[in-house]
Each structure stands twice: as structure tokens, then as C-alpha cells.
Symmetry: C2
Subunit: 375 residues, 2 copies
């Protein structure tokens, strides 16, 4: 099976979160060609699980990749660019899925001695909804999963380098829409309206004071201003409502939960200063911090050494969110990085292209981790 | 000539500022039917001037009405509602134009003894551009205008009551777009971007401190927040730019000019606090304060008394803008109000309808003012 071609096929046909129908069907087809017999699909939206049983009963380990693409117009010029306008694999999930297919082939060729391996091709990672759907499906419980592993390709690190750390690997991230409802008025009579402007000013100022920008500290917490829409562009009418959007992130889920409730309380206090102004909160796109388990990280490092790969212990977590954090909330496990090279575009850039050289490395890492665990 | 029908025709066929082609053509047609010989048209966009010469040479007096409509969907149910979807005469300019046509008829029937009367049907009042175009045309200078008069229908006052005052009658009003340009970044790395958020917060706060809300004082000055658009609703991207729109008003043009230059200076100081943030200012829709001349106001009051109309000296100016202020900047003159009734919708409301009873009153007032001046 030509895995470079498989990766290029996926790159050519990217699908957005929640719409991965053809991607999932293609993966199922390739799993069947590889010889996998137990495939759960359709499952938790467009996710796919391949189950590979060992010769004897034993613990189940879940390896997870993601399969969705992003709403970005590709600008690269290679011969397998996206055929879906405005959508592209700019985060390398095409590569993650291909690694998992190669891993399936390895497992079929050398089946586990005992226990079983679950290969999860997870849909809807980018919008933070896929992992939750898989966990709610009951499948992980049914198969008595004991550990969970995943990897992410990471530009800015030497190609094939394994990046890992104990504790938080990626940030807890969640976004908040604050909707302020007052009352418009003729611009010449603002005293007859209820303007959200002062509350907007105070909210911006408040979040600034809340920031603890030092990424080396465990209490790192930042709120990033994303957008504000207040009033409409008609100079005869004073603004009567506003929506402010912020994204927050912290290293630890517990700190994040505590800040969330503090935020709502503080904003209510600010809003009360404008009589008649109403506020509503909508939290959206939640990503749990991916807190790595120390034993699982040891398996990752041993696997890297067994594969002859350099490994790097990152001092600080990555500040992006990964919905694999929901898995590490429930099961011991680890998310690790695989360096994608130093001189490549950043993730989510319109010319990013997953390096095909990582396919074999990623699959070997997963296989070595399974061996470490004794599956 | 049936002036109620004329008013209803205009109400049925409203046209936005700068698009008053059919309205102007209809006015020209009616002026011709009335017997007016000298008509300047097309003139300063879609404005029309009718010139009615007296028997002997003498000073020229300009009477002005406006003819444009508003981008408002009419909700009234009478049988002459707007046939132009989304556009309506919600400010009574249909009535103002009809008053002027009736005034033309009166002047044709009783021509001035000496001097001349210019009847200006002015386009583009609502966006503040029409008066300036007329003044720049050179016509007022050519005709050696000595005085200028205009009226506005005003709901909230008894029908036919004349409202006037010395000094400012309407506010100086002008709007400002403040464009802040920084740099977007991934939301997880706001330190790599340049956020306009803190500047937006400080700008809102600054304008609040600048306000002097007491309308009874000569230094009345307020900035009304109209809209803010910052960033885009994509939680992965930190805001990198913002546009804030404010409308300012004061009673006096001199104070307004002084505040304008102070505002730009203060905003620049605020913006400099965010390194790399750039600011651009765009002032738009300027309305000069309409500062009434004491002699002209005396003529208005005598005219009201001669017409047997009650008159009311308003303690404070109106806080809306009227581009007739550009005329009173150049010539002695007065803008006065004509009460449209107490229990009627406010101007710019989607169910406002100019009271036909004011047509005759308005024309008689103009005729009486001309008589007072001795034309």
C-alpha cells in the first residue's frame, strides 16, 4: 500500500469538521484493504474505530488521530492541492490519518500478543466537538480502555524529533461571547437610550488586568480579544447593543474552571454600572488541557529511544487547544509532538503541507508504544 | 392647484439624498404650471431654484426647503404610502417642498414690489452635502442674497405653532470614523500581534470624560458612540484592527471646531500607548450649527403674529443637525420650526406623516416674512 499516495488523496479531498463523510468512507475502504476485520462505522458522527484484537485477552489501548480539515483557501502549488475550494488540510490531519492507516497495516502484519488496540480516526477535532462525541458513545468503556495515545505534527522542530512533557501538553482553551443588550436611541438623544459602550470599555480593561502572561508559570492565564461588534454603521443611531468575543487559555483545567466562574461574576458587576443593560454569556469551542500522565510519557520516551529518534522535553505547554484533552481527563495517556521541520510554514497557514517523511516515523512510534505497554 | 395631492404624490415617490431626479423634475413641472419663468435646473446635483423677480430692483431673499427622503421602510397604512421600497419621507421634506410650491403660487399671484425671491428646493439635506453644493455653485453670490430663511416641521409641538430662538437653533453635528490598524495573530500567541483592544477601551472612556451633557449651557458637547467593529468572529484569531464610529454635537460652531482638533490629538496620545498601532481619522456628514440672526428672528416672530399663529421661544437649541447651518454661516437668516402636533410619531419614525394642514401655514409664514422684509 502506498501511504504517500493515501496522504495526497486525503490532502486533495479535505472536509470540514462534521462533514468528513467521504474521508471516513475512504479510511474504512483502506482499513478493509489492509485486512482489518472489526470496524465501527458510522460512529459518533463521521469517526471510525478499527479494533485489532491480540492473540490473548488483555488490556485495550486506544491510539487516536484526527481527520478533519480547516476553512482555509490553500495557496500551495504542489500537484495534490485541495480540490475543495476554501477548505484545506492546514493542520496535517491528512498525515495523522495516514500514520494511523500505516500503523493498522503494521498491526495486521504483527498482531498484538495480548490485549487489543483501538485505532480511532476522530472527526471534528478543530471545533472541539469530536472527542466528546466519541467518549459519550460508550465505546471506550465497552472496550475497557486502559491508556490513550495521540500525536501531533509540529512545525518549528527538527523533522522526526519527538516532543513530550509531563503534565499539561496543550492549553485549556474556551471562548466566550458576551452579549450586551441595551436600547438604541436617536444619536442626538443618547440619554433616551441605554448604551453598552462604557461596559465594553470596562470589559476590555478588566480582561487585561486578569492576564498572567508568563507561560513558564503554572498560573498562566490569558484572555485574547477576538472581536467586538457594537451598534451599526448609521450615524443617526446611538449604539444599543454589543457582542464581545474573547478566547481564554490556561495550563490547568482546574484553574480554568475557577477563572470561568470569576469572569461571569466580574462582568455582571461591570454591566450593573449601566442601568438597564442586560448581559448574556455563551461559552463555546471548549478544549480541555491535555494533561499527560507520567507513566504514559515514559512509554513515549522509551519508544522514541527504541526507534532511534531524538526526544525533547518541552519546558512549557503549547498554548493551542487539542480536544484529545478530553481523553486524558478520563484515561491515563499522552499526547506527543512529532517535529515537522524547522523551515516550514506554521500550522493553519495556507501553504502548510504535512511532510510525508513523518508517516513511517509516526506509525513506528505508535507501534513501539504498543510494544512498550506489552500489547 | 391641489397642494394636498402634490404632497401625497411626493410622499408616494420618495428618493434618497443624491438621487432626487424624479422629485426635482416633478417640482420643475409644478413650478412651470404655477407660472414661474426663471428656473435653475439641473443645479448643484438635483436641487432646483425658482427665481421670482419683483417689479423694481432690490435685495434678494432666499427661502429654502429640502426634498430628499430617508432609507426607512414605511409602516403607515394610508393610501399614499411610499412606492419605493425601503425609502420614505419620514422627515416631512415632502411637506417642506409642497409649502414652497404653494409659496411660489402666492408670489406669482402677488409679485414682490421690489427685489427678488429665490425659492430653493434643496437636494441632499439628510447626508449634509446639499447646502454646501448650492453655496459652492456661486448662485447665491450672483443673486446678491441678503437674507436666508427655512422652516422645519416639528412633532411634539402644537400644530401650526411657530418655534424659534436667537442664536443656535440646531446643533453642530459631525461624525468621526476612527480606524485602528494593528496586526492579527493566532489567538494563542497574542504577543505576536498588535491588538487595538486597549485603545478601543481608552477611546470609549476618553469620550465619556469629554461630554458636557447639560443642554442649557453654551458649552454643551457630547460624543455619542455609534458603532465599533473590532476583529472578526473567528476564535482562532486575535483582533488586529478596529473601527470606532462616534457622532459629536455642540451648540456653537467655534466650540465644535476647537473640540475636533483636541479629539484627534487625544486619540493619537491614546493610540501611541500600543506600540505599532496605527490610527486614521475620517470626519463625515458635517452639519454646521444653524445660528439664527436676531433681526431675522424678529421677522419670523412678526410674521407669526401677522398670521395669527402662536409662537414659542425655545430655551435650548434642538440637538439634531440641519445643513441649513451652512447658509446661516454665510448670510443673516433664520431657521424656524412649525409644530406638527403633540400626538404624532417622531421624525424619522417609520409611520411619520407630514400633516397636510401645515402646507398653507408654512406658505403663509414665508409670504409674511417676505412682506416683513419689504420685498
Amino acid at each position: 500500500m502506498n501511504f504517500t499516495e493515501i496522504r495526497h488523496h486525503l490532502h486533495r479531498h479535505p472536509e470540514l469538521s462534521g462533514q468528513e463523510k467521504n474521508t471516513a468512507a475512504f479510511i474504512v475502504e483502506k482499513l478493509r484493504e489492509t485486512g482489518v476485520e472489526t470496524i465501527l462505522y458510522p460512529f459518533a458522527g463521521h469517526s471510525v474505530i478499527a479494533v485489532i484484537e491480540g492473540k490473548q485477552a488483555g488490556p485495550a489501548v486506544l491510539f487516536r488521530c484526527d481527520i478533519d480539515a480547516l476553512p482555509i483557501q490553500e495557496t500551495a502549488t504542489h500537484d495534490y492541492i485541495s480540490e475543495n475550494p476554501g477548505v484545506m488540510h492546514a493542520c496535517g490531519h491528512d498525515g495523522h490519518a495516514t500514520i494511523m492507516l500505516r500503523f493498522a497495516e503494521m498491526l495486521i502484519q504483527s498482531p498484538p500478543e495480548s490485549g487489543s488496540v483501538l485505532l480511532l480516526f476522530q472527526a471534528s477535532e478543530e471545533n472541539g466537538s469530536g472527542a466528546g462525541q466519541v467518549l459519550k458513545s460508550g465505546v471506550p468503556v465497552k472496550y475497557q480502555i486502559s491508556q490513550v495515545f495521540a500525536l501531533h505534527n509540529i512545525p518549528g522542530f527538527s523533522q522526526n524529533q519527538v516532543i513530550c512533557r509531563n503534565g499539561p501538553f496543550t492549553a485549556a482553551v474556551e471562548s466566550l461571547q458576551i452579549s450586551l443588550t441595551g436600547k438604541t436611541s436617536h444619536a442626538s438623544e443618547p440619554e433616551k437610550g441605554i448604551s453598552p459602550a462604557l461596559a465594553v470599555s470596562d470589559i476590555i480593561r478588566h480582561f487585561e488586568t486578569l492576564n498572567q502572561n508568563d507561560k513558564s508559570q503554572p498560573d498562566y492565564f490569558i484572555g485574547t480579544p477576538i472581536h467586538i461588534n457594537m451598534g451599526t454603521e448609521a450615524f443617526g443611531t446611538a449604539a444599543g447593543n454589543a457582542v464581545a468575543g474573547y478566547t481564554f487559555r490556561a495550563w490547568y483545567n482546574t484553574l480554568f474552571a475557577q477563572k470561568k466562574s470569576e469572569i461571569e461574576k466580574s462582568i455582571r458587576t461591570i454591566v450593573r454600572k449601566t442601568e438597564g443593560l442586560d448581559v448574556k454569556f455563551a461559552w463555546t469551542e471548549p478544549f480541555s488541557s491535555c494533561e499527560n500522565n507520567a507513566d504514559a510519557v515514559r512509554h513515549v520516551i522509551s519508544a522514541a529511544e527504541n526507534c532511534g529518534l531524538s526526544h525533547f522535553e518541552k519546558q512549557e505547554p503549547f498554548s493551542w487547544g487539542e480536544d484529545f484533552g478530553l481523553f486524558t481527563n478520563e484515561y491515563p495517556g499522552a499526547l506527543f509532538g512529532l517535529g515537522a521541520g524547522s523551515n516550514v510554514p506554521a500550522l493553519h497557514n495556507p501553504d502548510y503541507d504535512f511532510p510525508d517523511g513523518l508517516i513511517e516515523t509516526g506509525a513506528r512510534m505508535f507501534f513501539a508504544i504498543a510494544a512498550e505497554i506489552g500489547i
